[in-house]
């Protein structure tokens, strides 16, 4: 059996969800409401074919004049005029009536012109009124005649059809769908007053594809960019990588912490640092990255909470100057505002960063901001986190996620409403402990998967040199944590020790 001849669309991300492309000769129906991006998709399909795959193409327009299409394409960086001059593209203006008559004739002037230039692709914009807007037998047969005419010439055709009733949830179907080989449904949906675009492969004959509603954007200077939905399965290697390397560890950069975590975090492990705002989670993260920089390992920080300059200032306040590391390409700090995060696009960006920059350490600041942006009730947030964890494991990255736990003193739960601790390998809790008139900082290693854990609450301190773990016995008169019971229970009690023997040295209480 000959190998399937697949046509790559060349549209960013679209071929990924089509598992490579579309079988040659398929008639592709692109349906959606006004302004959703049907014309852009069709024009880009023909443009990429002519410009990148040596497949000349034809664009057929009914209402938009070709000079406007050429002008708009310039905004995406596509020089259609040049392609026309080179004979690799024809933009033909006609009427629906003429096209319908043309395609009913075996010797169509249009298709003859297409054949003369060796066209392999065609885009017809606005097919709906060509075939009628209803589900009558006549409109179906008109569409059938159209597809037969295109198939005669072995053209891979994109036909844009307006379907306003499919907006939103995309329920319903058009009569043309049963005749077309591939149906791509574009939609706009609004959520919390923001509008996003989605793309769904409803059907595609002759090959496998990734089902579900993916996201896409129309970007200046580029065109369409499709983002696979975050829940869609990735490469099998990503899931296989979940069994992390049980020998290699990366040190934490916090003096005293490595002893508590058996020498450092395993590569490919997922660590959550939980604690209330201001407790020192970001400080810990900055030190983790700085430790990597010191060892020549690439680090990446993804911040939703603070902008890059603010993070650099915070780092300076604990004696860390990240600028040389950034200039050397050892460290990247990325900030994305948490409002209106489009999860598929955001995940795609992280995937690209990980695959191109290849960091060994990644810090997310913070998981709770993702939660408030995506919502923790439904599956989306959990699916997103699961995809992140798999990505980091595949690339054997030490990933640390800061998580704001709302409780000020003590902790009733490790991750609050974020029911995801099962996905996490290590959990470190940072608590304020109120002793006398002071808040002191406590740290517990609550979970270390596949590791022995010493569950002792240790005291930490943050100074101008960063965070360090204090020894269990403190010099001077301050009573160490080891002198207290129930430190994380919100009501610690001083442990009563036996009186020293007469004449013996006094003990602190």
């Amino acid at each position: 059996m000959p190998a399937l001849d697949i046509v790559r669309s060349g549209i960013g991300g679209l071929d990924d969800i089509l598992n490579g492309g579309i079988p040659r000769g398929n008639v592709i129906l692109v349906e959606g409401s006004i302004g959703v991006g049907k014309t852009t998709l069709g024009v880009e399909f023909v443009y990429r074919g002519a410009a990148e795959f040596d497949e000349p193409g034809v664009i057929v327009l009914f209402e938009v004049s070709p000079d406007k299409i050429i002008r708009d394409a310039k905004g995406f960086g596509w020089d259609l005029e040049q392609l026309q001059k080179q004979g690799r593209l024809k933009i033909v203006f006609t009427t629906r009536e003429v096209l319908r008559q043309e395609l009913q004739q075996a010797d169509s002037v249009l298709l003859e012109e297409a054949a003369k230039m060796g066209a392999r692709r065609i885009f017809i914009d606005g097919v709906s009124r060509l075939v009628g807007n209803d589900a009558t037998v006549e409109s179906r047969s008109a569409f059938h005649v159209l597809t037969e005419g295109l198939q005669r010439e072995d053209l891979t055709a994109v036909l844009a059809v307006e379907a306003s009733k499919l907006n939103g949830n995309g329920n319903g179907s058009l009569p043309e769908e049963s005749i077309a080989d591939t149906v791509i449904r574009l939609a706009m949906y609004d959520e919390n007053r923001a509008v996003s675009r989605s793309i769904e492969i409803v059907k595609s004959r002759g090959h496998d594809y990734q089902m579900g509603r993916h996201s896409f954007r129309i970007m200046d200077g580029k065109g369409l960019q499709v983002y696979r939905r975050v829940q869609a399965p990735r490469k099998p290697s990503r899931d296989r990588a979940a069994a992390f390397d049980p020998t290699t560890r990366l040190t934490t950069g916090i003096p005293g912490l490595d002893e508590l975590v058996n020498g450092g975090y395993f590569v490919g492990s997922t660590t959550v640092v939980a604690g209330i705002s201001g407790v020192g989670k970001s400080v810990m993260g900055l030190q983790l990255l700085n430790e990597g920089v010191r060892k020549g390992e690439r680090g990446l920080m993804l911040s939703l909470d603070e902008q890059v300059d603010q993070i650099l200032r915070n780092a300076r306040s604990i004696g860390i100057d990240f600028r040389p590391a950034i200039e050397k390409g050892l460290l990247r700090i990325e900030y994305e505002p948490p409002q209106e995060i489009e999860v598929d696009a955001h995940f795609h960006h992280i995937e690209e960063l990980v695959e191109t920059f290849k960091p060994k350490r990644v810090l997310f600041d913070s998981l709770s901001t993702y939660g408030s942006s995506l919502g923790t009730k439904g599956r989306l947030f959990r699916d997103f986190f699961h995809a992140l964890v798999s990505l980091m494991k595949e690339h054997q990255i030490v990933a640390v996620y800061n998580h704001e736990n709302p409780e000020m003193l003590g902790m009733a739960t490790m991750m609050g409403s974020f029911a995801m601790s099962s996905l996490v390998d290590n959990i470190i809790l940072l608590n304020w402990v109120e002793l006398g008139d002071s808040f002191r900082l406590g740290m517990n290693v609550a979970k270390m998967r596949a590791n022995p854990v010493i569950r002792i609450t240790r005291e930490c301190e943050i100074t101008s040199k960063g965070m360090h773990i204090l020894p269990r016995e403190l010099p001077g008169t301050t009573a160490p944590f080891s002198r207290y019971n129930a430190l994380v229970s919100r009501a610690p009690e001083r442990r009563l020790l036996p009186e020293p023997p007469p004449g013996g040295k006094g003990r602190r209480r």
Binding site: D67, K90, V92, T94, E97, V98, D107, V109, L110
Partner: protein
């Protein structure tokens, strides 16, 4: 080469739609002139090599391919550049009409100005 307002408007339409597949009636409707006038303009451009017409005698529609890179295209291209604005088109049309016998009512001063303008742009 451009003698009448119909010539100009047809050329403007064809520049916006350099590859069109239309019936004669549809083309005349889009350009906004009687079919006879449009046919004369088409014949002119085809004869000059600026325009190619592809037709199948069995079909009502014809494919028109404009070739502004033709050696004859230099003058019309400059004229079209000016006539692509509303003011420019109006000036060009006034100048073209002033050449026609039906425009005798126009003042000699207007005619001179229109002619001068057309000379400048073409």
């Amino acid at each position: 080469m451009v003698r009448t307002p119909c010539d100009l408007d047809l050329l403007l339409f064809l520049r916006r739609h350099p590859q069109t597949l239309l019936t004669s009636e549809q083309l005349a409707a889009f350009v906004g002139y009687p079919m006879k006038e449009v046919a004369e303009s088409l014949d002119l451009f085809i004869a000059s090599g600026l325009l190619e017409r592809i037709q199948n005698p069995m079909h009502a529609a014809r494919m028109y391919l404009l070739n502004m890179d033709h050696p004859q295209g230099g003058g019309p291209r400059r004229l079209l550049d000016v006539a692509s604005s509303r003011m420019g088109r109006q000036s060009a049309i006034r100048a073209l009409r002033s050449e026609r016998p039906s425009n005798e009512a126009k003042s000699p001063r207007d005619k001179t100005q229109d002619k001068l303008h057309l000379v400048r742009i073409a």
